[in-house]
Symmetry: C2
Subunit: 321 residues, 2 copies
């Protein structure tokens, strides 16, 4: 699909003084979930969640994402309306059975989600089926989901310009071989520091990053939570600072929204240089830091470009010397 | 003591194309030790070590430090010669009994030193006795040692311009009250992230930093090892990146050499602005990253200003966006 600016497509076009969106320029495969979350600061029940949801909300701040995922007939109508309002393409969202439900909590240190219950429900038999109109999308985000579904998505799309892969420790343990197969096919791997050490059997992140680059990706981004993020490309290294958050309410979806904002910014600017990766990483960090300040998608759903630009300038200030 | 440039004081003056030192402009109290260290990459036996040693070697790259510490009669002459060669003032170095000996090791992850044996020896009954000629020194570095000795040092010196405090978890556990008393008297507290969380009973580093600032210090620097360092002052925050080291041989003394380089750079430039703190932190990170690349003081003893400036420029590049 050729991308063009659409200025009077009233239902999906969003304009700020900085950007105007074109239709469906990022394809995101991942989960859409109902999340029950408890942290020391509160609790939400069956809130809108899932890796594809967080990623698409974040991407929608910069671009026009479309989803490949599955929900159940119990999925609240208001959540669908919210997604539509964000301009998220839903032609690839199937409905059958009950929605995937995650029930988890964070203890005082907020660094690690602990799972009380995972009900896969309709996700268990989910088969990727990319709608014809999405196959030519040039930016692909493989959000955290079974690596076999990520591979299948890549198989069904036309040659994309740019594919980004996110994952988690669960897949490192249970589907390592498939995960390695996806890594070989993408342009950028997003992974957190603990997972990078685990997957490449080293304590040293530079060593882990070099192993990734040998597999094929042009870049690897190591997410370190409060410590920021690292970018490794062939000869360059970038270190993005963490944002000094005093009040973290709920870290759920921070990694997903980081990834969504990262690819969202790249798809908007259509510049895949290392320099622009750096800016995209900072936009990712900005959006993720906002996300942690409220429960579920409460912050992202109302986030404005002016909030993003203000915090981006703060990121510039905190690393200056 | 008024500081003045000394250009032909042959024994202690060192000149590079960038700096010339004046005499004794930093007073450092801390330990001088013999270290037996084992890491996955090798082993050294009774190597020159101790918090004041690392700090003074690092400070000597920028300024003219003088030591307050104690050794034993077993202390090798060659180590004394090495310290003299670095221009370190030794009038405050007492000799009695046997030298403090630390025997420790690092496991594969290199993040935490494990102690096999600590022989305090002469350190056990060490009493601070600042020589008259050092009392007017304006920059004071309280390297990691018993907080009672740090307090006593502050008591004995004339009103200094600037005092920096370093500490470790051992003192948080065993001398918390004295440690809090020293914190109230210094301009800058250096502390690592785990210790900051422990001392202020919070997981949140912003919260811990705010508690420090309420106690009196104008700034707190949180050292995060491979994740870099954070600076918190009243209204500002700075995040220094970590340096991507692929080969860490021995992390012993990284915190001490960070602190020594930090105050060394400040004493050289005589600029105590927040902006200059940022540069001093990066110089601290540069020197500490070099320190980890070889055992004991092997790297610091031969480090050149050109190595430091080269890596400083790398630090500039890795945080640019």
């Amino acid at each position: 699909m050729k991308m063009k600016k659409i200025t009077n497509y009233s239902k999906f076009s969003i304009k700020t003084n900085r950007i105007s969106f074109s239709m469906d320029n990022i394809l995101i495969v991942g989960t859409v979930a109902l999340d029950t979350i408890e942290t020391p600061f509160g609790r939400v029940k069956r809130a809108l969640g899932g890796s594809a949801t967080y990623a698409s909300f974040a991407a929608s701040l910069f671009s026009k994402p479309a989803l490949i995922s599955i929900i159940g007939t119990d999925f609240p109508k208001e959540y669908i309306e919210l997604m539509k309002k964000k301009g998220i393409g839903l032609n690839g969202l199937k409905t059958t059975g009950k929605t995937f439900h995650w029930d988890g909590f964070y203890e005082y240190d907020m660094n690690e989600a602990k799972t009380r219950k995972t009900e896969l429900n309709s996700l268990e038999h989910f088969k990727v089926d990319v709608p014809q109109e999405y196959k030519s999308i040039k930016y692909i985000f493989l959000a955290n989901i079974d690596p076999e579904l990520q591979l299948e998505t890549l198989r069904q799309v036309d040659k994309p310009d740019f594919a980004v892969l996110d994952t988690m420790n669960f897949w490192i343990n249970s589907k390592r071989k498939h995960l390695m197969d996806v890594i070989k096919k993408v342009d950028v791997l997003l992974i957190n520091d603990g997972e990078a050490r685990q997957l490449f059997n080293t304590v040293n992140l530079v060593n882990a990053a070099n192993q990734v680059l040998k597999l094929g990706p042009k870049a690897v981004i190591i997410k370190k939570g409060e410590h920021g993020a690292l970018l490794f490309t062939k000869n360059k290294h970038f270190s993005a600072p963490g944002y000094p958050l005093e009040n973290i309410k709920d870290p759920t979806g921070c990694g997903d929204s980081f990834g969504g904002a990262f690819i969202g910014y790249l798809a908007k600017t259509k510049d895949l240089s290392e320099k622009n990766f750096r800016r995209a990483i900072v936009y990712g960090s900005v959006v993720a830091s906002h996300n942690a300040e409220d429960f579920g998608l409460n912050r992202l759903k109302n986030l404005k470009m002016s909030d993003i630009e203000r915090r981006y300038r703060e990121f510039q200030d905190i690393r200056e010397f």
